[in-house]
């Protein structure tokens, strides 16, 4: 630009319009834009620095701020709102059969040792199953049993009671009530019809092992 420079005010759009232009340019640009670039894109006679500074003031304290980045300018999320740039997706999963059975035993028999849980379930309790329940906050380690080996016991937590809408673990319905509620719809097989059984517990063992593997994997976020 040679002198005598054209008098800007004569031809240039008014400042609010210049601010609109700068706003749009900075918004749409894929990288910070320098004053020189802004000037090249604005109509002749504009005042890029004045428009940028005015715009910067207008955005002060808002959700988006106009920042100086290197020798350019760019819009950025206000630093205090960066937590909004995280989205949490909640994934709902059903508990494995091993986990829910273990949980049920702890709830009904607490405090209960691992050996006792295994005795009731009839299969080994995988460490991962208990870990999962503890990590979920539904089960915690209670006092050690005063027996040889001083084994740890497990109890359910307040979080558990909260989730299941119970005041205390004593509120869990007993077997008789379960039967009355139709949850134990057992029709004992008439003795005469009883056929020799193929022992089926082996399957259960395998199932438990699989569950445990799944859980140990899936727990990682």
């Amino acid at each position: 630009m040679t002198d005598p420079a054209p008098r800007p005010a004569d031809h240039a759009p008014p400042l609010p319009q210049q601010m609109r232009m700068v706003e749009a340019i900075l918004f749409a640009s894929g990288q910070p834009v320098t004053l020189r670039e802004i000037e090249a894109r604005l109509p002749p006679g504009c005042d890029p620095l004045g428009a940028v500074e005015e715009l910067r003031r207008a955005y002060a304290g808002r959700g988006v701020v106009l920042e100086r980045v290197g020798d350019g300018y760019a819009f950025r999320t206000a630093p205090d709102l960066s937590f909004l740039m995280q989205a949490e997706t909640v994934e709902q999963r059903r508990l494995s059969r091993a986990a829910i059975e273990t949980l049920a035993i702890i709830a009904y028999h607490q405090p209960v040792t691992r050996a006792e849980i295994e005795d009731i379930r009839g299969v080994a309790v995988n460490r991962g199953t208990l870990d999962q329940l503890i990590e979920m906050g539904w089960v915690r380690v209670g006092r050690r049993r005063m027996t040889p080996g001083r084994p740890a016991t497990f109890v359910v937590t307040e979080v558990f009671l909260d989730h299941f809408g119970l005041e205390s673990a004593r509120d869990l319905p007993g077997l008789a009530e379960l039967r009355a509620a139709g949850l134990l719809d057992s029709r004992p097989v008439a003795p005469g019809l009883h056929m020799p059984l193929v022992p089926g517990d082996g399957d259960d063992d395998i199932a438990v092992v699989h569950d445990a593997f799944d859980l140990s994997k899936d727990d990682r976020p």
Binding site: A24, F27, A28, S29, G30, Q31, A74, F75, T77, M85, Q86, A87, E88, T89, V90, E91, Q92, R93, R94, L95, R97, I100, E101, L103, A104, I105, A107, Y108, I120, R121, G122, M136, H163, F164, G165, L166, L172, P173, L175, L178, R179, A181, L183, L184, S186, R187, P188, V189, L193, M195, P196, L197, V198, D218, D219, P221
Partner: protein, 273 residues
């Protein structure tokens, strides 16, 4: 590639000059016919030359325009796609119906209805063309309006929520505590030989039994030594032999209580007495 000017939609007359120019003109003509997006498009272009509202178009005149077009194409040895010819036939039919006095015997829509519907279709196509143009004239993203140039990525975290209800819990417990009370009913089919199996087997074998044979000889392999399997196979084979005797295919004989049961096929007429 130039479409024909809207007000002269006919094929251009071929200048009777040298052959090269003629060939070039022919090629141009082919391109021009191809320039129409089907017969309806061509009809719409022809209709526009009437310079009236499409709903008040003279369908009779339009049909004639179209037939002239097709005729001209034919004299210029331009091959028209089949749908252009089908349309020509239909328009010729419509034209004749429009010209003749209505025949009260004729079923179906009147010629006027057909003409009105054609006019509607042309108007609708024209309207959609216009709508398409207006649509493309909207403020388009990436041309007139722009998105944020530096979108910020949203960090996604996954949180697992475990679902389990009180019912699940109680069911699980009930299942465990009553496991010894009942078992699912399981029927072991491995050591059972059914009557159907025995019948199938026996049917195939008794044809050979011209002489009395012990029933025990018909037990299948693998079912003779183990007592349980032998019992099942014997019972099934015996029941099958009763069925075949009832059908008159075999005869049974037992000389004494607990004596071996023997069978033979029913003697045929051809057998020696």
């Amino acid at each position: 590639m130039a479409r024909l000017p809207a007000d002269i939609p006919y094929l251009r007359p071929v200048p009777d000059a040298d052959t090269v120019a003629r060939r070039q003109a022919d090629e141009l003509l082919i391109v021009d016919v191809d320039g129409y997006e089907g017969p309806l498009d061509l009809l719409l272009t022809l209709a526009r030359t009437q310079k009236v509202d499409l709903m008040r178009i003279s369908v009779l005149e339009l049909a004639q325009q179209y037939l002239d077009f097709v005729e001209q194409a034919r004299t210029l040895r331009i091959e028209l796609a089949a749908d252009y010819l089908v349309m020509a036939a239909w328009l010729a039919f419509l034209k004749s119906r429009l010209l003749l006095p209505p025949d009260p015997e004729t079923e179906g829509p009147s010629a006027e209805d057909m003409a009105a519907h054609l006019a509607f279709q042309l108007e609708r196509l024209g309207a959609m063309r216009q709508a398409a143009a207006r649509l493309m004239g909207c403020n388009r993203l990436g041309i007139d309006r722009f998105a944020r140039g530096m979108p910020e990525t949203v960090a996604r975290t996954r949180r697992m929520e475990w679902q389990a209800g009180l019912i699940d819990l109680m069911r699980a417990y009930a299942r465990l505590r009553t496991r010894d009370e009942f078992r699912p009913y399981a029927f072991d089919r491995r050591d059972v030989f059914t009557m159907e199996q025995a019948l199938d087997r026996l049917r195939g074998l008794v044809g050979e039994a011209a002489d009395w044979t012990d029933l025990a000889a018909y037990l299948p392999d693998g079912w003779q030594s183990q007592p349980g399997r032998r019992r099942s196979a014997t019972a099934a084979t015996f029941a099958a032999s009763l069925e075949l005797a009832r059908q008159g295919r075999i005869e049974l004989r037992q000389t004494d209580a607990f004596a071996p049961i023997r069978l033979r096929r029913k003697p045929l007429d051809s057998d020696p007495p």
